[in-house]
Amino acid sequence: MAKIIRRERLVPNLHLLEIEAPQVARKCKPGQFVIIMPDERGERIPLNIADWDSEKGTVTSVFLVVGTSTQKLSILRSGDEVPVYVGPLGKPAEIKKYGTVLCAGGCYGIGAVYPVARAMKKAGNKVISLIDVKANYLLYWEDKLKAVSDEFFVSSRDSYYDCKEFIPKVLKEVVKTTKIDRVISYGCTYLMYTCSEVTRPLGIKTIVSLNPIMLDGTGMCGACRVSIDKKTKFACVDGPDFDGHLVDWQELFSRRKSYFDDEIQSLCYWEKENFPKS
C-alpha cells in the first residue's frame, strides 16, 4: 500500500499525484516511470515520474483523465492508499552535454519532460522548452519549467501565448534559426510522432517516451512491444525512451487502440456503480 500525499487538479482534466514512496524516490532518474493500480480491482497503468523529493520520500506524476483507471485516480484524496505502486521502471533518459537541447512537451508530457529538462540544464546544456496547450488555462508548471530553461515558448490554440500553431510547426521555425543538437519530445503519441517527422529530414536526433499499453512493466509479458528499426522491443525494459525516427508509429497508434470498446464498457460500468441514476 502506498499513501497519497496530495492529489490536486492542475488544470481541467490534468491532475497531479504525489505519493509517499521513499524507496522509489531514492532511485528516481529522469525519464523513468511507475506502475500504479488505483484499487484492488484496477488495472496496472504506467505513469511517468514528473518530480520527486528523496528527502521527503515522495514521487509526483501528472496524469490526464482518459478512462477508468485515471478516473479512479482523479478522485483520490490525501491519506487514501493505492494497492500497487512500483518503480522506478524503465531505462532513465540519456543525460549528457549535447549543446542545445530542445524539450517539447504537451499534455501530461509538460510534467513528464520537466525532470529531463532540469537534468539537461544541470549537465551544461542550453535548454529550450517548447510547450503546447490547447488554451491558456491549460498551462501548468510554467515557473518550474522556466527555472530550468534558457528559452521558453508556449503555443496555444487561442493565441494567448507566443503563437497559436501546434508544436511541430513551431519546432520547424525554431530549427531554422537555432542549431539544435537534440530534441526530447514527451506527451501524447501524436505530438511525439509529429515532432519526430519535423526533425527527421534534418537529421536532428529526437528522443520520444513511448506509451504503449503495459501490464507488469518488468519485461515479463510483452504487452508493451513496439517496433524500433523493424525490431521488436519491450518498451518497459528497453525504453520507454527511443529514437523517434526509428519508431513504427502506425503500429503504436493501432496497438494503443487495442481495447477501445472494452475501455468504454469499463468506464460506463464504473460510472453506473459510482453515480447511479445521475
Partner: protein
C-alpha cells in the same frame, strides 16, 4: 545442469531403510499380501464433466475421497528398494508417506511429505508424475500401472489443510542473521520456509502485488486454485516470513542496498522472464499475445470478471495457441473457457514430443481442444484495424534428432495453408529474467541470461548470493525449482552459520 544419473545418496538410503524396518510398516505389509495388492485397480480421481467444465474456471479434479485414497495406498507395495524415490527430483520418502495414508494417519503423512517438499498440495497437482516418480514405480514394472503417487500426495496435503491442523514447526532460536529472498515463486517460497525454520530472519521481495510467481499469474484456477497458494503463503507468514510486495530488486532496491541494510545472505529466484516470439511478419498485430500476457490478464488481473475488474482480455472466437507444453495447454483451455468456438494447439512436432503433462493433454482433448501437429505459422494477416484475422502455416515432417534428442521438424515444401484466427497465443517459452543480471554486473550469467551456480550449493560467484529455479534453468518445473531451493537453503544455512 547436474548429472541426472546420480546414485541414491547414502543418507537417504539409510533413512529409507530405517523407515522400512519400523514395526508398524512391517505389520502393515503383512496385513495384505502383495498378490492381493497387485489386484487392486488404480483409483480414479473424480473429475468435472468436460462439456460443463470447459465453460468455467472451477478446478477440474475433485481429489480422492478418503475411501479411494485408502485403497490406492494399499496398492503401494512398500518396496525394499523403492525406485519411485529416485524418480522424484527432491527424493521424497514416498513409501513412508503412502503407508501413513494406508494406516489412516493422514496428517502424519502430510508432515512426512513436508520434511522434503514444502508445497505438496501444489506438486501433487502440477508435477509431471508420469515422467518422474510414477515412471519408475516398481508396481508399474510389475502390472503396467503405477501407484497414483501424485494423487495421494495431493490427498494428504489437502486433508491436512482442510483439517485446520496444519503443523507449525517450532522455529529454532533466532540466529540474528537476515536473509533476503528475491522473487516469491515456488523457489523463493521454499527457501524462505526452510531458513525461517532455522531461526533466520527472512524477508521475501516480490515485484508483483501477489506472491506465488507462475503459480498465481500463469497456472490457471481450474488446475491450481488460488486458495491453495494463499494457504501456503499464510503458513509461511505464520512461521515469521516477511513479505515486501511491489519491489523490483535491481530497480527499487539493488542487492548492494540490501547488503547495506544488513542482509547477510541472498537468494535469487526471479524465474523466467522475457517471453519468446517467433519473429515472423505480423506478430505485433492486435490479438496476438504471449502466453505470459494472456494468462496474467486472466489469472492475476482477473480479466474473467471484466468489467467488474478493470483489465480486459480478447475473447476470441477462433484461437490458435503455438507450442506443446503445459503453458500452451493452459492457454488453449483458458481460451475455450472464455468462449472460443475453436481453440487449437498448433505444434511443430508430433504428439509424442509434446512436453506437456499427460493429464493436461488428455483433459484438453476431452474439453474439445483441437490439435494441429507438425504445423508452424510463418506469417499473420490483419484486418483494416490491424487485428489479426488469419495465419499462414506450413506443414512439417520429422527429421534427424537435434541436441535435445527430439527429432527436428523440417518444413515440407509448398505445404502452405491459411488458418482463420482472431486470437493467437504464443507459448514457445521464455528466457531467464534479465533484470538482476543487468543491474548487478558482478553477477555471473550464462549466454541465455541464466544465473550461473555451483550445483552442489547453488552459490553464485558473489559471496552470500545463491540462486535457483527458472532463473538458472530457463524454464523448468515447480519441483525442480523447489529442489534447487532446498539445496540453496542448506548452502545458505551453512554459509550463515560460518559467518560471525
Amino acid at each position: 545442469m547436474p548429472d541426472k544419473t546420480k546414485q541414491m545418496p547414502p543418507e537417504l538410503k539409510a533413512s529409507l531403510r530405517a523407515g522400512f524396518n519400523e514395526a508398524w510398516r512391517k505389520e502393515l505389509r503383512k496385513s495384505l499380501p502383495v498378490k492381493e495388492r497387485m489386484k487392486i485397480r488404480r483409483q480414479k480421481m473424480p473429475e468435472r464433466k468436460p462439456d460443463l467444465r470447459n465453460k468455467h474456471f472451477k478446478e477440474v479434479n475433485f481429489g480422492l475421497a478418503v475411501k479411494n485414497a485408502l485403497k490406492e495406498a494399499q496398492r503401494c507395495l512398500d518396496c525394499a528398494n523403492p525406485m519411485c524415490v529416485m524418480g522424484c527430483p527432491v527424493g521424497i520418502d514416498i513409501p513412508a508417506f503412502i503407508k501413513l495414508i494406508e494406516a489412516g494417519r493422514f496428517n502424519d503423512s502430510a508432515r512426512k511429505l513436508k520434511e522434503t517438499n514444502s508445497l505438496p498440495s501444489i506438486c501433487g497437482r502440477v508435477c509431471p508424475q508420469e515422467s518422474q516418480c510414477e515412471a519408475v514405480c516398481n508396481l508399474k514394472k510389475a502390472t503396467g500401472v503405477s501407484v497414483a503417487i501424485g494423487n495421494l500426495e495431493r490427498f494428504a496435503a489437502d486433508f491436512e489443510r482442510d483439517s485446520g491442523k496444519v503443523f507449525i514447526p517450532k522455529a529454532l532460536p533466532p540466529t540474528g542473521k537476515k536473509v533476503a529472498i528475491i522473487g516469491a515463486g515456488p523457489a523463493g517460497l521454499t527457501v524462505a520456509g526452510e531458513l525461517v525454520k532455522k531461526g533466520h530472519k527472512v524477508t521475501v521481495f516480490e515485484a508483483l502485488h501477489v506472491a506465488g510467481g507462475v503459480l498465481v499469474y500463469g497456472i490457471p484456477e481450474f488446475r491450481l486454485p488460488n486458495k491453495i497458494l494463499r494457504a501456503e503463503v499464510e503458513y509461511l507468514k505464520r512461521l515469521g516470513v516477511k513479505f515486501e510486495m511491489n519491489i523490483v530488486v535491481g530497480k527499487t532496491v539493488s542487492l548492494k542496498d540490501l547488503k547495506s541494510d544488513g542482509y547477510d545472505a541472498f537468494f535469487i529466484g526471479t524465474g523466467a522472464g522475457l517471453p519468446h516470439f517467433m519473429n515472423i511478419p505480423g506478430e505485433n498485430l492486435i490479438g496476438i499475445y504471449s502466453a505470459n500476457e494472456y494468462l496474467t490478464r486472466v489469472n492475476l488481473m482477473r480479466a474473467v470478471d471484466f468489467p467488474e475488474y478493470d483489465t480486459p482480455v480478447f475473447k476470441g472466437k477462433r484461437a490458435a495457441v503455438l507450442g506443446g507444453g503445459n503453458v500452451a495447454m493452459d492457454s488453449a483451455r483458458t481460451a475455450k473457457r472464455l468462449g472460443a468456438e475453436m481453440s487449437a494447439i498448433v505444434y511443430r512436432r508430433s504428439r509424442v514430443e509434446m512436453p506437456a503433462r499427460a493429464e493436461e493433454v488428455h483433459h484438453a482433448e476431452e474439453e474439445g481442444i483441437e490439435f494441429h501437429f507438425l504445423t508452424t505459422p510463418i506469417r499473420y494477416f490483419g484486418d483494416d484495424k490491424n487485428r489479426v484475422k488469419a495465419m499462414e502455416c506450413l506443414r512439417m515432417r520429422l527429421g534427424e534428432p537435434d541436441s535435445s534428442g527430439r527429432r527436428r521438424p523440417v518444413p515440407i515444401k509448398d505445404s502452405e495453408f491459411i488458418m482463420e484466427v482472431d486470437l493467437v497465443i504464443v507459448a514457445i517459452g521464455n528466457s531467464s529474467n534479465p533484470l538482476i543480471g543487468q543491474t548487478t554486473p558482478e553477477l555471473e550469467v550464462g549466454k541465455w541470461g541464466n544465473v550461473e551456480v555451483d550445483w552442489d550449493t547453488m552459490a553464485t560467484n558473489m559471496e552470500g548470493v545463491y540462486a535457483g529455479g527458472d532463473i538458472i534453468r530457463g524454464g523448468a518445473t515447480v519441483i525442480l525449482a523447489m529442489g534447487d531451493a532446498r539445496i540453496a537453503a542448506a548452502g545458505m544455512h551453512k554459509y550463515l552459520s560460518s559467518k560471525k
